[in-house]
Symmetry: C2
Subunit: 204 residues, 2 copies
DNA sequence: ATCAAACGATACGATCCGTTTCGTTGATAT
DNA sequence: ATATCAACGAAACGGATCGTATCGTTTGAT
C-alpha cells in the first residue's frame, strides 16, 4: 500500500543527481493511478500531480509512457507469476496460464502490461521497448517449462521456440481481446494441443 | 482512388434518414487520412474536415474511433486478403499468413490495424467492438481453412476452434511485436506444428 | 401541414500533450 | 571556500483533440 496523496512537503533537489525519493514517489503514484483508473486514466499530468512532482521531472527520466509502464511492471515483478513444476507439460501450462491470467486480471501490475501492449502499437519506439526490453525476460520462464518437457523427452527440443511463440501468442490474444476469465477447460485443451504438437513422431 | 478534398458543395440533409453520400465521403476521407498520416494522425476532427462533414455526424454513426476503423479495415481487407486453397493445411496456412502479413506491412489500412488493437486496450467499449464486431467476421476465413482440413480428414474436427485460436494468436503476437517481415521458414514450421497438433491420434 | 431526424457549421469547456522558464537546492570539482 | 552543474517543483505556454451543445436548414414520412 502507498500514499495516494503524499502529505509531505515538496521534495527539493538533493543536488545534481537523481532523487530516489522522487523516483519512488512517481513509481508509487503511477502504480496507484493504474490501479484506480486503469490505462485510460494513466496520464503524465496526473502521475506528476499525485507524486507531487513536476512534469519535466517525469519527462527527464521516462521519455515515453511505455518507459514508465515498464518500470512500474519491473518494480513489482518479483512477487508475480512463478514457474510451476507439476511434472508434466500440460500440467505446467495449466498452472502457469491460470496464474498469469489471474495476474493480468487482478493486479495493477498486470494492467500495466496490458497498457504497455497498447502503447507499443502507437509508435515504433515503444514497440521496440516492448519487444527488446520486456519480452525476453517474460519468455525465459515459459521457455523453461518447455525445456524441462524436452529434457523429459515429452517434446522434441527443436520445437521449443515455436511452441513458446504459439503459447505466448495464445495468451496475448486472450489478453488483448479481453477474455482472460478463468477457463481451465479451454486452457487445458490448448496445453494438450501444444504438447501433442511438440511430441516426437509416432513412428521413430 | 477517392477525392482527397471533395470539391462539391455542402451536402445538406436528405431527410430524416442516413445519407449514403455522407457515409461514403466519411469512409473515403478516413481511408485517405489513414493512408497519408497513419494511425497517429487519424482523428475525428480531421476526418470530418476532409469529408466536409460535421463532427456530430461522425459521432452519431461511429461512437468511437474503433468503430470507424473497423469499417474502414473490413472493407479493405476483404478486397485484399483472400482465402487460398492449396490442398493441404500447411500450404493454406503458409499462403494465407504470407498474404496477411504482407497486407499488414504494405498497406496503410493494414498498418492501421495495430492502432485498432491499441484502441481496444484503452476502453472496454472499444475492446468489445474488436472482439464482438470485428473478430467474428475475420475468423471466418481462417476457420474455413481448418474446416476444409477436417473435411479431408487431416485434422480432427473438434480441434478446429482451438487451432484457430492458436493460429490467430500467433499472427497477432508477431504483429504487436513488430515482427511481420516475410519469414516463410518460420511460418512453415508453425503451420506444420498446428497440423500435427490437430492430427488424429497416432495409435488408434 | 406537421413532425421527426439527419445534415453542416460553429463554438464550447475540458483535458492532455510536450516544452519552456524560473528560482532553489545541494553534491562535486577545483 | 567557492564556483559549477544538474536535478528539483512550480507554473505557464501553445497546440491539439476530445465529446457535446446549439443552431438553422433540408427533406421524407405521417
Amino acid at each position: 500500500m502507498t500514499d495516494e496523496t503524499p502529505k509531505t512537503g515538496r521534495r527539493a533537489s538533493i543536488g545534481a543527481r537523481r532523487s530516489p525519493a522522487t523516483e519512488a514517489a512517481i513509481l508509487a503514484a503511477a502504480r496507484d493511478l493504474l490501479a484506480e483508473r486503469g490505462y485510460a486514466g494513466f496520464t503524465f499530468e496526473e502521475v506528476a500531480r499525485r507524486a507531487g512532482a513536476g512534469k519535466p521531472t517525469l519527462y527527464r527520466w521516462w521519455p515515453t509512457k511505455a518507459d514508465l509502464l515498464v518500470d512500474v511492471y519491473s518494480a513489482e515483478k518479483a512477487a508475480t507469476v512463478r514457474a510451476p513444476d507439476t511434472g508434466s507439460l500440460p500440467g505446467d501450462l495449466l498452472a502457469y496460464t491460470s496464474a498469469l491470467w489471474g495476474f493480468w486480471r487482478d493486479t495493477p501490475t498486470g494492467r500495466a502490461f496490458r497498457g504497455l501492449i497498447a502503447e507499443a502499437q502507437a509508435g515504433d519506439v515503444a514497440q521496440a521497448t516492448l519487444r527488446d526490453k520486456f519480452l525476453p525476460g517474460r519468455l525465459k520462464d515459459v521457455r523453461g517449462l518447455f525445456a524441462r518437457a524436452a529434457a523429459r523427452g515429452d517434446i522434441r527440443s527443436d520445437t521449443i521456440e515455436d511452441l513458446v511463440t504459439l503459447y505466448i501468442g495464445f495468451n496475448w490474444f486472450h489478453l488483448t481481446t479481453g477474455r482472460i476469465e478463468d477457463d481451465a477447460p479451454a486452457i487445458t485443451r490448448i496445453a494438450l494441443l501444444l504438447a501433442k504438437a511438440g511430441a516426437a513422431s509416432s513412428s521413430p
